[in-house]
Amino acid sequence: MNKEVVAHIENLEHTYSSGHKALIDINLDIYKQEITAIIGQNGSGKTTLSKHFNGLLRPTAGKIFVNGKDVASRRVSEMAREVGYVFQNPNYQLFCPTVLEEIRFGLKNLKLSDEEIKARSREVIEEFDLRGMVKKQPVTLSSGSKKIVALASVYAMDPEILFLDEPTTGQDQYGKTKLGLLSRKMKQLGKTIIIISHDMDFVAEYADRVIVMNESRVILDGTPADVFSNEEVMKTAHIMPPQIYAIGNHIHAVSSETRLSVMELAKVLAEGDYCL
């Protein structure tokens, strides 16, 4: 399959000033219009890796290219146009008196004209279904809504790549589903989404590609089905696949079926096409 590469990482390494090697020999391509999930234990280097995409951290060795251009020579505020980053805690991001101004903050930073700003923000409010809360103060919103507003305010800047750092933490099922569907929608609108998450069910459901990190290295990279069926490697990274994959993996031991969704599993069981 011929996929367009939006970000290319070459032998990337990052060593913190404390001497801790947070990234070792990372080689990756990120493809356009894909939802890529980066998973791994705490301290495995996920966030460190993601902060290299917009220059918040600079590589101590190796190179990273976004849209074919080397990130090293560019400022973070310049990169914001191309790489959006939604932080884990929306409280760190929201500061304006109203949701509308919050959305416009990034657009003003991009020095767009007033008409453009109005048009863009109207579009975003429409797409994220924020009409009811435009005049509200972001700080007073529920944590689910805060997350959506933070996401909307970054999305408004129309970046090619969007990072979501732990989008589902502290979210109820409704919030999670909403975020998942929004990710899909943004993908359809041409964005490349990268999710950093510990929520395996969310990753399994919405990601097109999963990258597993362990002890500063990428140890696995593939579709959710490929990754979650590789229980050996998952164990070394201390990751439990979602239960549906676990069942699938167990059945795989005695049947030829490898990739299972809930529906597929139900079908296989109903047809008795397995031997336990």
Binding site: N54, S77, V83, Y85, N89, V139
Partner: protein
């Protein structure tokens, strides 16, 4: 400096010393530094402080923020006072030359002398504070304050605030990167000032929220049930601590007596050469 409390763990004499004794030492040095208007006693205290620091924390004292501050102050105070001190009258000679600045006039002996005295006074106190800070763990400090009669709630508040500084610093860094990632301009100094509001609001909001969470968590764990909670460890005043206390107190008394009988050894009005600045009595 990553550790904002500036405490350097160790096992030296001053590390084991009671916090109250060290506090007293700091107070006495602060009094003595301002007792005389001459560089000698405060200079002596600075050297003693430096030696104590070296014994306690070794080479790390040279990298300590407060040591750096003393060195920076030396340049500022001695150079600035030389030019701008209003009591300056006699222009100083640098190998027969006078140095003067437009608007401020010449570098004077009086200015140099006053700057030197002032610098030595401040730096001897800073040196002793460095000894105190780098050898007293925050919990010992709070414990000592409580023993001195400061209410427990207040002590606890102080220690909590000290612990919050590094947390807030880290939080500010995260917020800063969050806003930069949203394209916050960062080219000029004006941009940086504009960037303060997007930093400030989230920082205050999260601090207030954390305060509320912490206070609830504390109450849930029974904080405030008594004003005199028992403590895990008790500091004992050793004989050597008492000896240190007695020596410094005697030194203070001696200095006060000298001050009353012989005056402050102020040389400001008798300066005509560099050598005069270091004389104990006027010619």
């Amino acid at each position: 400096m990553s550790d904002m409390s500036m405490y350097i763990p160790g096992n030296s004499f001053f590390h084991k010393c009671d916090a109250k004794v060290k506090m007293l030492l700091l107070v006495i040095v602060s009094i003595m530094a301002f007792l005389f208007h001459s560089p000698y006693l405060s200079g002596f205290l600075l050297i003693v402080g430096a030696v104590f620091n070296y014994i306690s924390i070794g080479n790390r004292m040279f990298k300590h923020m407060l040591t750096r501050m003393i060195i920076i102050m030396m340049f500022f105070l001695i150079i600035l006072h030389g030019f701008v001190n209003p009591r300056g009258e006699t222009p100083a000679s640098f190998f027969g030359q006078e140095i003067s600045l437009p608007f401020f006039g010449a570098y004077t002996y009086e200015g140099f002398y006053l700057g030197l005295v002032f610098w030595l006074r401040l730096s001897s106190i800073i040196m002793m504070a460095e000894l105190f800070i780098s050898t007293t763990s925050p919990s010992d400090l709070i414990h000592g304050l409580h023993k001195l009669g400061v209410p427990y709630n207040f002590c606890f508040m102080v220690s909590m605030s000290l612990q919050l500084i590094p947390i807030s610093v880290r939080e500010a860094q995260i917020i800063n990167s969050a806003q930069r990632a949203r394209g916050l301009p960062e080219k000029s100094i004006v941009d940086r000032f504009k960037g303060l509001l997007p930093m400030f609001v989230p920082l205050v909001v999260s601090s207030l929220e954390r305060m509320e969470r912490t206070s609830m968590a504390l109450e849930c764990r029974g904080f405030g049930n008594t004003n005199n909670p028992t403590s895990m460890s008790d500091i004992v005043i050793r004989k050597s601590d008492i000896a240190l206390m007695v020596i410094t107190l005697l030194l203070l008394v001696a200095c006060v007596i000298i001050r009353i009988r012989f005056g402050s050894f102020d040389m400001t009005d008798h300066l005509t050469s560099w050598a005069d600045c270091f004389r104990l009595v006027a010619r």
